[in-house]
Amino acid sequence: MHIPFVSANDGEFHGPTINEFFPPVIFFEGTPFEINRIILIRFLAVAVIILLFWLATRKMSVVPGRGQSLAEMALDLVRGGIAEDLLGKVDGRRFLPILTAMFFIILGFNITGIIPGLNIAASSTIGFPLVLAVVSYVTFIYSGIKKSPKNFFKNSLFPAGVPWPVYIIVTPIELISTFVIRPVTLTLRLLMNMIVGHLLLVLFFSATQFFFFTADGFFKLFGVGSLAFGFAFTLFEILVAVLQAYVFTLLTAVYIQLALAEEH
């Protein structure tokens, strides 16, 4: 287990560093399949997601039980709230698997950041946000090209209702915003939220540790404050975990919707 922050010996306070997110390798060192603590947390999260949904949907019935109701409510957030709302019934159903998987894997990976014993979001190294951003990117470009390549590129690069000389400026901007900025922002928004959330929590709790057990006399009181902040940010991280999953999925759906649109 990686405990980077406080070493009680030297009596100095060490803030969390970026190395938080690069714990020592546990298996397969030196190969492209290295497994460290964060990867193990990912496997655990995947297992838990599968277990929960398998249990909840094992015996589906028309009149739902308690577990099934909860699972339905969660699935309906993506089905009704994102897919069908933005894409309509037909396209909503087409892209529902990818949107559902996206939402629940992001949520599951984010929430590990506040689970005691795991204490780090499985989505807080760039690989995961990047892979999902690529999935989102490929999906919306695929859906646009499959529907009508001409329409897709015309709508993306030459928005309607603009006098033609303006295209000299607009088209490069649209090109960059659609095909470069979108995946980059998807990746970084999720990654940075998770990194910062984790660093904040580590900072507050290691400061609490420091104030309580290393600092002298009066300074011990600061520990109460930092503990309270740590608690508040733990609650905030739950919100962030759900919100980021929702935002990522919603934006993917919006991109697909724009790619499918006949006319802007």
């Binding site: 060490h14 399949f33 949904f53 589906m60 760039i126 892979v131």
Partner: protein, 183 residues
């Protein structure tokens, strides 16, 4: 203290979190693939089937309810029609009864009037007959009584019937005349 943090950071191996490691990408992709296949092939089809069944069940129930309502409405109409029929029949019966009653009363009145007339007529006839017989009897008896009285008074026997008759008549005429005069 800040210096100490920086020194500690610099001492450790510096990593840029923006550059992905291959293992990071590989395992992320594997995890996502597993979750995608799980939702795609296992969870969502089940949920879809269940949702279809549920909407079918709901539609079935709605159809059933519609049918029941239609039946109830038909029954209500039939009942209303029956009720109206019964009312009309009752009205007819009541009308007939009223007419019958009127007829019966009229007949009874006629019968009573006829009976009363008959009774009155027979009573009149009887009274007249009795009066006649009384007049005859009286005349006879009054005559003989008067003659007896007169014979007694005049001391002579008025045996001659002719004379006696004339005498009585005169006597009666006198009597009537005196009665008139006394009035």
């Amino acid at each position: 203290m800040l210096n100490a943090v920086f020194v500690a950071n610099a001492a450790e191996e510096s990593v840029n979190p923006i550059f992905p490691a291959s293992y990071d990408i590989i395992w992320s992709a594997v995890c996502f693939a597993i979750i995608l296949v799980f939702f795609w092939k296992a969870v969502l089809p089940k949920v879809q089937t269940m949702l279809d069944e549920r909407s079918a069940a709901i539609e079935g129930n709605i159809a059933k309810a519609d049918e029941a309502q239609a039946q109830a409405e038909a029954a209500l109409q039939e009942y209303t029609a029956q009720l109206a029929g019964a009312r009309q029949e009752a009205g007819e019966i009541r009308e007939a009864a009223r007419a019958d009653g009127v007829k019966i009363v009229a007949e009874a009145k006629d019968a009573a009037v006829a009976e009363a007339a008959r009774v009155t007529a027979s009573a009149k006839t009887q009274i007249e007959a009795e009066r006649q017989s009384a007049v005859v009897t009286l005349r006879k008896e009054v005559g003989s009584l008067a003659i007896d009285l007169a014979s007694g008074v005049v001391g002579e026997s008025l045996s001659d019937d002719k004379k006696a008759g004339a005498l009585v008549d005169r006597f009666l005429a006198d009597l009537e005349a005196s009665e008139k005069a006394s009035k």
